[in-house]
Amino acid sequence: MDIESKKIKSPFSPSEDYFVDLAKRIQQRVGIEVLDVVNREKEINFNDKQKPLQLTVEFGYPLKAQKQPKTYESPLEVVNDAVSEQMSPMNVEMLSELPDNQIVTHNQESTIEVPNIEEPSNIPQEEEKNTQLQELVNVEPSLEEATIIQEVLVSDPSEVVLETEDLKIEIAPIHMELEPVYYNEAELDALHEVLSSELNGTGAILELNTTTTAEIDYSALEVEHENVVHSEMLEEPSFSDAELDALHEQHEQQINSQRLAQEQTIHQTRLDVESQQEKSGIWQMIPWSSVFGMVASLMAVASAWLIWNSIQKPLPIDEYIDRTMVTKAGPSAVPAIVEDGIQGIDISTLSVSDRVVYNDVVEEEIPQVKNFDFKKLSEQSKISSVELERVGLTVLDLEDELFDDIDI
C-alpha cells in the first residue's frame, strides 16, 4: 500500500465545541479575560452587510395601497375580501375629494348600469348629430374632475357606478351621395350583350341612355367569323409525306450539327482551362494563407518537440532523493574514481570528501553503516563528516539528543 500517493488523514477530529472550551480554559489558566476566540470572526466582521431595517409595518391597515390603485375603469379586477371591505371606507375618505353624499359605500346596493347602446333606428339625424358633436367638443372636463378620476381608489366593485350619461359614443355619419340609376329591361339586355361581346373580343360600343335601345344582328357576326376562319385555312401550305420527311430530316441535321458545334466548343473550353492550370502549377491554386498556416504549424510542432526534449518533466522529490543518493553514495559510482585515480591522481590534491571516498573505496568497496558519537569526534573529523553530508556522499542519522532545550 502506497500511503504517499493516497494520503490518509489523522483520525483525531474533535468538534468545534471542544476547541471553544479549550480556548476558554487556556485563557482562564493564563489569567486573562475569557472571550470566545473561535467564533470571533462572525462577531467583529464589520464588512458584512446586514440587511437594512425593515421600517414598514406588515400588519394592520397599510397606509399605502400595495397594488396599483384601481379606478372605475377596471372595477371587475378588484378583490372583494374582508380586509378590503374594512379598508374601503377609510381609503375613500382619504383619497376622494367627492362629497359624502356622492360616495357609494359597500352597504348600499350595487348600482352598476350597463351602457345603453342605441339601436340603428334610434340613430339621430345628421343635423342632430352635428349639434351633439359640437356640444361634445365644447365641453371640456374640469381639472377637479380629472384629478378625482385619477385618485379615487375603489376597493369594492359595488361602489362603482357607471354613469351612462357621461359615456357617449359618437359615430360620425357617413355621407355617400349615390344617385339611383334605373334601367328598363331592354337596356339591361343591351348591357349584358355589350359585356358578353367584350368578352368575345368584339368592340361594339353602345351609347346608353334612357331612350335608346340596342339591336345587334347575330347572323352577320357569325358570318364574318366563319369567313375569317376559312381564309386562314386557305393560306396554309400543303405538303406531301415525302416532302414532310425530307423537311424533318433537314431539321434533324441542322439540330445535330448545332449540338455538335456546342459540344466541341465546350470541350475546347475545358481543354483550355486544364492547359492553363497545368501551366500555372498546383502551387498557384493554393492560397498563400494556407501555405503560411501549414508552415507555422510545422514550426510550432518542431519548437514544441525541442522544448519538450530540453525541459524534462520535474521529478518527484522522493525520486530525486533516491537518484541522488544512489548516484553519489552508491557503490556503482565509486569504482570509476578508483580505477582512474589509483595510479594517475595525486591524493594530496583531492578535497577532503574525495579523499574519504578514495580511502573508503580502496579499503572497503561496499559502504557500511557506522555508528559514532559525533560529539566525541575530533574537529577535523567533524568537519569531514559535515563536508561529506553537504556533498551528499553520506547521510548522518539523527542526533542522539533530540532537541536542545529552548531558552524559555
Binding site: Y18, V30, E43, V395, L396, F403
Partner: protein, 201 residues
C-alpha cells in the same frame, strides 16, 4: 466586547480609540504586536484561534491519548503566553510553536514514563487507541495510527510533521535542528515500515 478598544496617543497628544481586527493581520503583522503590552491579550487570543487545532492534532498524533493531548496543549499555550514578548520573528511563528509543542510532548512522556527510550518503539500505546474519544471511524486511519506506534519516536516525529502537518524538510530541520538529509532518510524509513505494517496486517 471582542474588539480591543485601544487608546493611542497621536502627535498632538490627543487620544483616539482604534479597534484593530487581528484576524485580518498576516503572521508578520501579528508578530509586530507581540512587543506591545496593550495588545498582548488580544494577540494571544488570536494565536490561540489560529494554532490551537494544529497544536492539539500534532500532540495527539504523538501521544494518542486525548487527555494527555489536552493537558499538553494547554501547557504549550501557557508557555507561549509566558514567552510571547520574547519572540522576535527569527523563525516562523508556527515553527516556534511546534518546537514548544515538541518539547512539551517529550517532557510529558518523560514524566509519564521516566525510563522511556526514544530510539525504541512504544507499541503498548496502540492498545489503548480504540477507547479514545474524538476518534474517526475510518479503519485505515486507525490502522495508520497503530502503525505509528511501532516507529521509534524520532521517526514518528519526522513522519507526523511531514505527513500530517505538511511541513517542509527545511521547516522540520529548523524545528529539530537536524540536517535535511537525515530527515529525508528517517522519513523514508518510517514510510517503508508503515507500508510493511499496513500490508501485513
Amino acid at each position: 466586547m471582542s474588539i480591543p478598544n485601544v487608546k493611542i496617543a497621536n502627535e498632538n497628544m490627543q487620544t483616539a480609540e482604534v479597534s484593530i481586527n487581528f484576524q485580518r493581520l498576516d503572521e508578520t503583522q501579528l508578530v509586530s504586536y507581540f512587543v506591545k503590552p496593550e495588545h498582548l491579550e488580544s494577540v494571544f487570543r488570536e494565536v490561540i484561534r489560529r494554532h490551537q487545532k494544529t497544536v492539539y492534532t500534532y500532540v495527539r498524533n504523538m501521544l494518542l491519548s486525548h487527555e494527555d493531548a489536552d493537558d499538553v496543549t494547554q501547557n504549550v499555550f501557557i508557555k507561549i503566553w509566558q514567552n510571547l514578548h520574547t519572540f522576535r520573528g527569527e523563525s516562523k511563528l508556527s515553527t516556534w510553536i511546534y518546537r514548544i509543542a515538541s518539547n512539551e510532548t517529550i517532557t510529558h512522556l518523560r514524566k509519564v514514563k521516566p525510563t522511556i527510550d526514544f530510539d525504541e518503539a512504544q507499541p503498548e500505546f496502540a492498545d489503548s487507541l480504540s477507547t479514545e474519544p474524538y476518534l474517526s471511524s475510518e479503519a485505515i486511519e486507525r490502522k495508520l495510527q497503530k502503525a505509528l506506534c511501532y516507529l521509534p519516536y524520532k521517526q514518528k516525529l519526522v513522519f507526523v510533521l511531514r505527513y500530517f502537518e505538511d511541513m517542509s524538510y527545511d521547516e522540520i530541520s529548523d524545528l529539530t535542528q537536524t540536517s535535511v538529509g537525515a530527515l529525508k532518510s528517517s522519513y523514508h524509513q518510517a514510510v517503508q515500515k508503515i507500508e510493511i505494517y499496513l500490508n501485513v496486517l
